[in-house]
């Protein structure tokens, strides 16, 4: 245990840094100096730091089990207490997205299907179970968890996903059940969630072998809240014209606020990103050369298509300037109040975007389109994420009829490229863009 802990700390501080330095050198040699690549503007400098953080995060993870307590958690789980208790956290959704962006989603989904998981299940679930069962991952190795933590605020699928994980890994599972919110969350719902938080902390303390220090917890909550607020400020820079970065960039830069929120490193990263974006906005540097139209993106990214999507839109002067997906992370985390850490955590995590009724979500989406002055919207109808996709036809009609914003549904899947027809989707998108200039 002691040796393992030393190895973990060494890898975290020295090994990870060496590896990211090496990666950077190799990338530099391969690509030469980074400059603008039309139709895109100059790339963000912060990307290097982002790669460094995420490489170190996954690299350190390889040595985490046996050194520190490890938990696998859903993206919407109130993870601050776990961070304060010294857990190393793994976010299977982030891992699945990483596999998807590297175009390994379909293959891993296929591996899960071989074990009997049907194709109708979310492709994040199949990617991760496929990775677990076939023992293949592009990050080398994921540490085995001591605890699984699942919060139902993003969907009900996670419940079954984590139960399957608990069975395969034979580890305890904590579930935080967040009732769906119509309008405002009633007090008894919040009390119910708060009660579960108390129980969850007891379990996390027992398994982690440590008591939660209230000061440390508040400090973590403060950092998580700060990182989320900074994330929101970063996104808000996209209101500038031209937008200094695109919503597609934000799909990648979201990773730290998901995986390492509650840490100093996370806060520092977003401060750095914010400085860069503010400076770009001030100088009028855009993410693309010729921003003629501004688009809103709804739903999860299509991970295996993001590059094609960025190019197809940028070539025609279209830029995704905002996304409900990226925005959800700013909306939620920034509302935690460190003076009432548990009560505000219960309220915040119960009221996340996907746990609210359609009317609420539509209002929030329309407000986003207005704030960012979007004149078009692409609503990704995601075969794998029904809670996010249900109601999009109504959203589309409201955008077009009430806001005069052109909107289209793009049928795809966030991770499984086998459930997707690229030619048809890109033709649809191109026709949608052609109509703006008629």
């Amino acid at each position: 245990m002691m040796l393992r802990r030393m190895q973990y700390e060494f890898m975290k501080n020295a090994g990870g840094t060496f590896l990211t330095g090496l990666q950077r050198y190799q990338a530099f040699k391969k690509r030469g100096k980074r400059g603008a690549r039309p139709p895109f503007g100059p790339p963000l400098e912060s990307v290097e730091r982002l790669k460094e953080i995420m490489t170190r995060y996954y690299f350190t993870g390889r040595y985490a089990d046996g050194a520190v307590p490890v938990a696998w958690v859903t993206s919407g789980f109130p993870s601050e207490a776990l961070v304060a208790l010294g857990y190393h956290l793994v976010y299977p959704e982030n891992h699945a997205a990483l596999c998807g962006a590297r175009r390994k989603g379909g293959k891993m989904c296929g591996a899960a299907e071989e074990f009997g998981y049907p194709r109708d299940i979310c492709s994040y679930v199949r990617t991760d179970l496929g990775s677990l069962l076939s023992k293949k991952t592009p990050v080398g190795r994921l540490p085995k968890p001591d605890l699984l933590c699942c919060c139902t605020n993003i969907c009900q699928t996670v419940l079954y996903w984590y139960r399957a994980l608990a069975k395969h890994l034979d580890v305890p599972l904590v579930i935080i059940d967040t009732p769906f919110i119509y309008g405002e969350a009633p007090t008894h719902h919040l009390e119910y969630v708060r009660g579960q938080l108390d129980q969850f902390i007891e379990v996390a303390e027992r398994i982690g072998g440590k008591k939660l220090s209230p000061e440390h917890f508040v400090d973590t909550v403060k950092k998580a809240q700060r990182a989320s607020s900074l994330w929101g400020e970063c996104l808000a820079t996209g209101k500038a014209k031209p937008s200094p970065w695109s919503a597609i960039d934000s799909f990648f830069h979201i990773a730290p606020v998901v995986t390492i929120r509650g840490s100093d490193e996370c806060v520092d990263y977003y401060q750095m990103l914010l400085n860069e974006l503010t400076e770009r906005a001030r100088k009028g540097v855009g993410a693309i050369d010729n921003e003629r139209h501004r688009l809103l993106w709804d739903n999860l990214p299509i991970w295996f298509l993001v590059r094609d999507l960025a190019l197809a839109t940028a070539e025609r002067g279209f830029q995704f300037v905002c996304a409900t997906y990226s925005n959800a992370w700013a909306e939620a985390g920034s509302q935690i109040d460190p003076s009432t850490p548990l009560d505000s955590t219960a309220r915040t995590y119960t009221s996340v975007y996907l746990n609210r009724d359609l009317d609420n979500r539509t209002r929030s989406l329309i407000q986003l389109a207005r704030d960012f002055d979007a004149d078009g919207a692409v609503l990704h109808s995601d075969r794998s994420c029904k809670p996010y996709s249900v109601g999009q036809v109504d959203v589309r009609n409201r955008l077009m009829e009430e806001e005069g914003i052109r909107a289209m549904l793009l049928e795809a899947d966030h991770n499984d490229e086998r459930s997707f027809s690229k030619e048809q989707a890109l033709t649809r998108l191109q026709a949608f863009m052609e109509a703006f200039d008629e």
Binding site: Q424, T427, A435
Partner: protein, 255 residues
């Protein structure tokens, strides 16, 4: 000196269409051929023919549309949705709803008063409800595509074909044949299934507008009649419906 103003080519999954237009958008020459998988060679050959017919020089812009549009060197590439809209509006000069049933996909386009695309619907990822569906199933029934009108039973006599998935419908047809259902009744069922599928797409656009139809399937009067029945409204088939996309592409030459 040639009057040729631009050339439009529409490389679809089933057929290659191309035409040359003069400065008023009138078709000077055209070609329609079954698609060759060697897209570049076929395009070069047919383009040369069109240019020879009209005396068009290599300076005349070529606008490509259809699924093969990215495979050829063209002045511009425009989607079929925009091209069919332009071709349709050139003929009709009024707003309406255009149904284009092609080999690989079906589109329902809402055309505005100035001839622009206001909105459009397309079939999903598969070939359900497309020309290919019709081709495959009718082939199974040994009915030539252009004679289907003579081989279908009257209204109300069709058997129900529930699936518009080409693969499932084919097996459904096989089992209907095995059960002894009449070929004519099955053929009507197949056409009705396709009509139901298309009308579910068309159901999302305004009712008061006239309906137009383009694409190869529009050449099939029986299909058009059954579709009009399903929609409860008359459908005007555009002149030379297969060429509407290529014509629209040529008309995009000026922009």
């Amino acid at each position: 000196m040639s009057n040729a103003a631009s050339i439009g080519i529409d490389i679809g999954s089933t057929s290659w269409k191309g035409c040359v237009v003069d400065s008023k958008g009138r078709v000077m020459a055209s070609r329609i051929q079954e698609s060759d998988p060697r897209i570049k060679e076929q395009t070069a050959r047919l383009l040369a023919e069109l240019m020879a017919d009209t005396g068009a020089s290599s300076q005349v812009p070529v606008i490509a549309t259809g699924y093969g549009r990215k495979q050829v060197e063209a002045t511009r590439q425009v989607t079929e949705i925009t091209c069919h809209t332009k071709g349709c509006f050139h003929q009709t000069g009024k707003p309406g709803v255009l149904i284009d049933i092609g080999g690989q996909d079906t589109k329902v386009i809402h055309i505005g008063p100035k001839g622009s695309v206001l909105d459009f619907q397309m079939n999903d990822k598969c070939a359900a409800g497309t020309g290919r569906f019709l081709e495959v199933i009718l082939q199974r029934l040994r009915i030539p595509l252009d004679q289907v009108g003579q081989h279908i039973s009257s209204k109300g006599e069709g058997v129900k074909v529930s699936s518009t998935c080409t693969v499932f419908a084919e097996s459904e047809v096989v089992s209907l044949v095995a059960q002894g259902a009449r070929v004519e009744a099955i053929a009507r069922g197949v056409l009705e299934a396709l009509a139901a599928r298309v009308s579910s797409l068309a159901g999302k656009v305004p009712e008061q507008l006239p309906l137009f139809m383009s694409g190869g399937v529009a050449l099939n009067p029986a299909m058009v009649a059954i579709l009009a029945e399903a929609l409860g409204r008359p459908i005007t088939v555009l002149d030379n419906p297969q060429l509407v996309g290529a014509h629209g592409a040529a008309l995009s030459g000026g922009g």
